[in-house]
């Protein structure tokens, strides 16, 4: 959909992660292109979150490699680079949206400080400037500017999730990892959050890796899908193709299990 540069943003080859005898995920390979939203779907325990952890530099894989091409066009092996660089990457070019906003937010400090943290980590030292950017981002994620000094504890689940998104996007990342961003939200709030995500992803040209068990969320956001089961990718393809004409028996089961209202 976007004017694509010829090089993939993320190149994953033969990625496996074992927990002792137990398989987290096995032999996963794919490319993620700039501006693409990749959905990873599957039932609970199918290795989605393990895979996301391995991709986002938080969980050492047992085998395989993850190559990331940075803003300057330089390619980095995520697990071969020093941890210092990996952290810098993770807080500037990447974003991670956790399923539970409490994992991704600093609950003890105000919403404004949460949004400003990445800016300050990158060297912003002007209070007024940081605050203005925080206000700007709160507006973008539809949080009332008057709540900037409130603790995220006083926010509703949907607001916390939106705050978490603002906190990640403030550094203008290129790649965002999302783990069930709409999990635990009621459907109307989910719908608003999905609209918001779709708009921001489009506006910023973000690449997203989206883990979800909710096929409706995948349908709305993802361009391409990986269907996982038992730690392996059993089917991959364009979202509409996978959902409308699933080939693998498990995908067929998954699609046919969607509740119709």
């Amino acid at each position: 959909m976007n004017a694509q540069s010829p090089q993939p943003l993320l190149t994953v080859r033969g990625l496996s992660r074992y927990y002792g005898q137990h398989v987290g995920c096995r032999d996963i390979s794919f490319d993620l292109w700039p501006g693409e939203v990749l959905g990873i779907v599957g039932e609970s325990g199918s290795g989605k979150t393990t895979l996301l952890g391995c991709l986002s530099g938080r969980l050492d894989p047992s085998e395989g490699s993850v190559l990331y091409r940075d803003r300057a066009g330089q390619s980095h092996d995520v697990y071969a680079m020093p941890e210092m660089m990996r952290r810098r990457l993770a807080r500037s070019e990447w974003g991670i949206v956790h399923q539970n906003p409490r994992d991704g937010l600093r609950m003890a400090v105000s919403a404004g400080a949460n949004v400003g943290e990445r800016l300050m980590a990158q060297g912003a030292r002007h209070y007024g400037g940081i605050r203005n950017q925080a206000l700007d981002w709160l507006d973008k994620v539809e949080i009332d500017a008057g709540r900037i000094d409130d603790s995220p504890r006083t926010f509703s689940g949907g607001m916390q999730q939106r705050l978490q998104i603002a906190r990640n996007l403030v550094s203008m990342p290129r790649l965002v990892f999302m783990d069930e961003p709409t999990g635990g939200l009621d459907v109307s709030v989910q719908a608003r959050l999905l609209d918001l995500l779709r708009r921001l992803v489009g506006e910023m040209g973000l690449s997203v890796i989206l883990v979800t068990h909710d096929l409706a969320v995948a349908r709305l956001l993802a361009h391409r899908l990986l269907v996982m089961r038992g730690g392996e990718v059993v089917e991959s393809g364009l979202t509409d193709q996978v959902l409308d004409d699933p080939q693998h028996p498990y995908s067929q089961l998954l699609v046919s299990s969607i509740l119709q209202v």
Partner: protein, 287 residues
């Protein structure tokens, strides 16, 4: 009274322990602001009373040193008197209350008002050496943050202060950047004292006994207090002068005099206050 106690090694600690602590001190001096772990010993006083400071002092004190001990600036409080007497008994060293005369000063929560000079050593007692502790409870994580100079979180705290109070409300233990590299907790000195640490000609050593850390600021090292461009670092100011010596430049303590709201402001540094009293200088002039 001034006789050295028998049966104890010079300055209480055994020589092996002193060597171990000196190695930690040397490393700390070599990496300004970096917290060096050391094997902290049990000392004959409770944690929180200066076990870290007293071990550093015991390791570096020599027979010809002149020791001064202050507690919140005062020479005459229990803690200061006890530690001074401890070293008089175990090391037989000369002690003083005069900042200029001392070669070694152990302090709790203040830096003397009288400027320090080259050759003097200031030993701080530190309760919590980790400046990131209140923001990040995991020690493994704070060590990585120091190693990677990943310090954005420190400004989050200052941001939060301004957002809540309109100014940076941290009054003591105000975090500093040492030599442009490590963020360091200056121990709970008032931020009034922070500028004194910057490029100070004396050697500053910090000992945390319970937390088993030693760190240092070598002479003439850059020490900057963290701040924002539009909310620069500021020290406390008082609208009145010291009630005893009339100084307008020293750090003042507010002392409640009675239960009818009477109070007075006096210097927290007793030595400075005494040497600046007008009656005394008149006496000296008369002599």
């Amino acid at each position: 009274m001034s006789a050295t106690l028998e049966g104890y090694n010079f300055a209480y600690l055994d020589e092996q322990t002193k060597r171990m602590i000196r190695r930690a001190v040397l490393k700390a001096v070599a990496i300004p602001g970096y917290q060096v772990p050391f094997g902290s010993r049990e000392m004959p006083l409770p944690y929180g009373w200066g076990t870290g400071g007293i071990q550093v002092t015991a390791s570096i004190i020599g027979a010809d040193d002149v020791l001064k001990v202050i507690d919140q600036g005062a020479d005459d409080t229990t803690n200061a008197v006890s530690i001074r007497r401890f070293f008089r008994r175990t090391a037989g060293v000369a002690t003083t209350t005069r900042t200029e005369e001392a070669t070694l000063i152990q302090t709790r929560h203040r830096i003397p008002e009288t400027p320090l000079r080259e050759g003097q050593i200031l030993v701080y007692q530190v309760p919590i050496p980790e400046p990131l502790r209140w923001l990040e409870p995991r020690e493994t994580e704070t060590r990585k943050m120091h190693a990677f100079a990943d310090y954005g979180i420190m400004h989050v705290k200052l941001y939060e202060d301004i957002a809540r109070f309109g100014r940076i409300a941290t009054g003591y233990n105000y975090p500093v950047m040492v030599n442009g590299r490590y963020i360091m907790s200056p121990s709970p000195i008032p931020k009034f004292d922070n500028p004194k640490m910057d490029r100070n000609p004396a050697l500053q050593l910090f000992g945390a006994g319970r937390e088993k850390r030693i760190y240092a600021v070598p002479p003439y090292t850059r020490v900057e207090s963290l701040d924002f461009e539009d909310h620069p670092f500021e020290i406390e100011r008082w609208e009145r002068a010291c009630a005893l010596c009339g100084s307008t430049e020293s750090f003042l303590d507010e002392v409640v005099m009675d239960d009818r709201g009477g109070r007075m402001f006096v210097c927290s540094d007793t030595d400075y206050c005494e040497s600046h009293r007008p009656d005394r200088s008149e006496q000296e002039a008369a002599e």
